[in-house]
Amino acid sequence: MIDNELVCYNTDNSGLHGNAKRILFPESIAEIKKLILDSQNIVPRGLATNIVGGCIPSGSDVFDMKKMNNINFDFKTKLVSVEAGVTIKELNEKLKSIGYEFPIFGEGTIGGMIAMDSPSFMGAYGNIKEWIEEIEFVNGRAELIKFSKSDIGEVCGLEGITGIIVRAKLSVISYNERSLSIFQSGDIEEIFLVIKRLKLEKTIAMMRLYSPYYSKILGFPEKYHIFVGFENSNGKIKGEDCDILLKKIMKDYYLMNKNGYRSSEDPKLLFEKLKEFTMFLDSIGVPYSGDLSLGIIFPFFKDDSSKEEVIRMINRINGRPGKYGIGLRRKNKVDNLQKKIVHRVKMRHDPYLKMNKGKYIDIDGTNDADNLIMELDKRATENENEK
C-alpha cells in the first residue's frame, strides 16, 4: 500500500477516490513493456485533469507517464515526435521558440489528451485525433504497436483501456499571433444570427458563447457574449490583452466552481439543435457556456434537480458526450453498439484485462474474458482458414 505522501495518486480531478497499489514512473518503452508483464492491474496517468474518473485506480499499479518527456521536431516533414508525458503547455513552449505551435490547446499530457481524444480549446482546430500522424503504444500483451492515421481509433479516445500510449507524431502549424473580438447582446435570436454569419468566416479559430449569468461571473455585463478568436489580427483585442483574456476563458469553469456550480455536462449537438437547447437552459435558469465551432454546450449545475431535467433534454435531442469522456462516471452514455465495438478492440489488445479496469465499459469477471479470448481466437482461425 502506498504511503501518506502518495495519496494524490488515488484520485484525479473528478474528486472520486480509489486505491493505488504501487506508483511507477517508467522512463522508456522497454521499462513499460517489462512493467506491463509484471503487473495485473494497470492505470496509466498523465496530468489527471479529467473529471470523469478516467485514472482512478482500484488496487492498481499507477503508471505515471510524465517522466517520458522527449520532444523531437523534424524540420523536413514538419512533424513533431512527442513522448506521452509531455504536457500541451510544455510542447507549445518548445514549439513557440522555433515559430510553430500545436493548436490543440488544453490542460493535459499528450498521452492523456490522445486517450480522451480531447478537442482543442479553440474549437475550429477540432479534436486531437485530426492532428495525429502516428501513434506508438504498448498494449496489454506488452507488444509495441505503431498505428498510422487510419488505425488510431484503436487507441485514440479509448481512455487507456487498450494499452499505454508512449509516443505520437503530430502535425503542427506556424505560430499565430491571435486576436479576439467580443460580441454582446441581450437577445439570443440575434446571437444565433451572428453565429450563422461567423461560421462562414475562415479565419475564425474559436467561437465561445456565454449565458448572461456566466458572463457576469466572468466580469462582463449580464448579457449573452460571444468571444470570437481570430487566427490573425482581425479581432479588436490583440497582444497581451488577448493573451490575458484567453487564459481567463480557458479556465472559466473554475470560476463557476467557485460560485457553487460544481457539476456540468458536455453535450455535442447538431448546429440546428444548439438554439433550442440554449433557449431551454435559459428557461430553467441553468447557466452555460458553449463552444460553437465544435457544437458543444456546457450547462453548469448546483444541484441534481435541474441536472436531471437537462439530461432528459440532452437525450431527447440526441446529445453525445463532447469533451469530458466516459471514465468511471459516465459509462451509461455508451450505447450498445459502441460497447460491442470497444469490447472487441479491448479484447484484441488487452485480453488479460489489465488496462484501466472498470473504465469506459464494464467487462465482468475473467471467465467472460476467457470465453471472449477463445471466441476471438476461434474467429481468427476461421478467418485464416477462409484465406
Binding site: 501518506n4 505522501e5 495519496v7 505515471d64 510524465k66 479556465k251 467557485k258
Partner: protein, 111 residues
C-alpha cells in the same frame, strides 16, 4: 501554540484545501513539480495530502513562490506550522536552529 490553536489551524487548513481543490489548482506553474515531474510534488498533490488529514514532510518541498495561487501558498505555510509542532522538521532546519543558538547565525560561522 496550544492544542486548541493547533486544532483551529488544522480546521482552517482543511477548509482552505477543500476550496482550493474545488476551484482548481495551477500545477503547471509550480517549479518543483516541473522539475520533479511527479504528482505528489505538485501543489494539487500536496493539497490532497492535507485534504486526507496527513501532515507530511513533503510540504517542505515547496518554494512558497505563490505560482499556484496566493491562498494555497498561505495554506502550505500554515501546514508547516503544524509540522513544526509535531516535530516533523527537515534536518537542515534543525541544524539552522542549532547554529543560531550556538553562533548567532544560521550558517554556524563562529567568528
Amino acid at each position: 501554540m496550544t492544542k486548541t490553536e493547533e486544532y483551529n489551524l488544522k480546521e482552517e487548513i482543511k477548509e482552505e484545501v477543500k476550496n482550493a481543490l474545488r476551484n482548481g489548482i495551477d500545477n503547471e506553474g509550480c517549479a518543483v513539480y516541473r522539475a520533479s515531474r511527479k504528482d505528489h510534488y505538485s501543489p494539487r498533490g500536496k493539497a490532497i495530502v492535507l485534504d486526507n488529514g496527513y501532515y507530511e514532510k513533503i510540504l517542505y518541498k515547496c518554494n512558497l513562490c505563490k505560482a499556484c495561487g496566493e491562498d494555497l501558498c498561505n495554506t502550505f505555510l500554515k501546514a508547516r506550522q503544524v509540522l513544526v509542532l509535531r516535530d516533523k522538521e527537515m534536518n537542515a532546519n534543525k541544524k539552522m536552529i542549532e547554529n543560531v543558538k550556538r553562533t548567532g547565525n544560521i550558517y554556524g560561522i563562529d567568528e
